[in-house]
Point group: C2
Chain length 140, copies 2
DNA sequence: TGCCTGAAACTACAAGTGTAGTCGGAAAAC
DNA sequence: GTTTTCCGACTACACTTGTAGTTTCAGGCA
């Protein structure tokens, strides 16, 4: 049990101004997701969890875990010569960061056009629509 | 299955499942955006349009234009030894692709949680909220 | 006619990513 | 106590991306 010095500089890109979190790549996100859903997990448990979703070789997944550790978004504990990994950053926090980044990059930060765009393209059930309207109401 | 090699052509990455459109990088997106806002434009006109938004050197922007051409998302016409560039793909189409990709990657394709997440984090004016509710109504 | 200029083409290069393979050493099995 | 087996550590390598610099060549200018 060690590691996890938040607030480092190298490996942090321009976009993360203010935020302390390095960018997480697509493949890394996938790995991190399984840790969010349940942690701690050993590397092999992560591999197993991803077996249905990807066809990555175990080494690939271990590399990704290592990179996540290096980015300080995942920590680990050694027990009996085997590592157990766990997230160091909350899912909510990361979602927010991804949200903002996407919104900025694709819609120049304009929320409503983005929402409109999604509402036009994707499908929702009647209940979901009701729930969203309720959510919008509560925001006034 | 997230990532299988699904017949990927060179210069086309995993995300372009099925679609023929290559991934557009962040910087490329910026360039493409100015072409969406007005086209055709010469390289220098694009450079000028981006001068306020970025501090990229002209060569950088020309490289990005060239890459967009190579990815078949931008075309050009030569007139009097100068190229005029224009988009070959519609903004709407690209937005849809980005939307879907983001939704899939970050929210596993679940639209409502994504919307909820945005609504929780970001701010909207009263009118925007009204407009969104109207949009939700029209969707039944 | 030869030179300068400006545009496109070509080259560069480090960091990050996807995607593993190989090495070295401890622990388990004989 | 050797051998085998795992596991993490280290190495690999091509492709993409950000971010330009350098070369070349046609056309205009002197």
């Amino acid at each position: 049990m060690l590691n996890a010095e938040r607030g480092k500089e190298p490996g942090m890109n321009n976009r993360s101004k203010g935020s302390k979190v390095s960018r997480i790549s697509e493949a890394e996100w996938e790995v991190l997701s399984v840790l969010w859903s349940k942690a701690p997990r050993t590397a092999n448990e992560v591999v197993e969890a991803l077996a249905d979703l990807t066809d990555w070789k175990p080494n690939t997944i271990k590399t990704l875990l290592t990179r996540l550790v290096k980015k300080n978004v995942v920590g680990f504990r050694e027990e009996k010569r085997v590592y157990s990994y766990f997230p160091l950053v909350g899912r909510e926090e990361c979602l927010r960061a991804e949200n903002r980044f996407f919104l900025e990059r694709v819609y120049g930060g304009a929320l409503k056009p983005m929402l409109v765009s999604f509402l036009k393209d994707e499908t929702l059930t009647a209940e979901e629509i009701e729930e969203l309207k309720r959510l919008l109401d509560r925001r006034d």
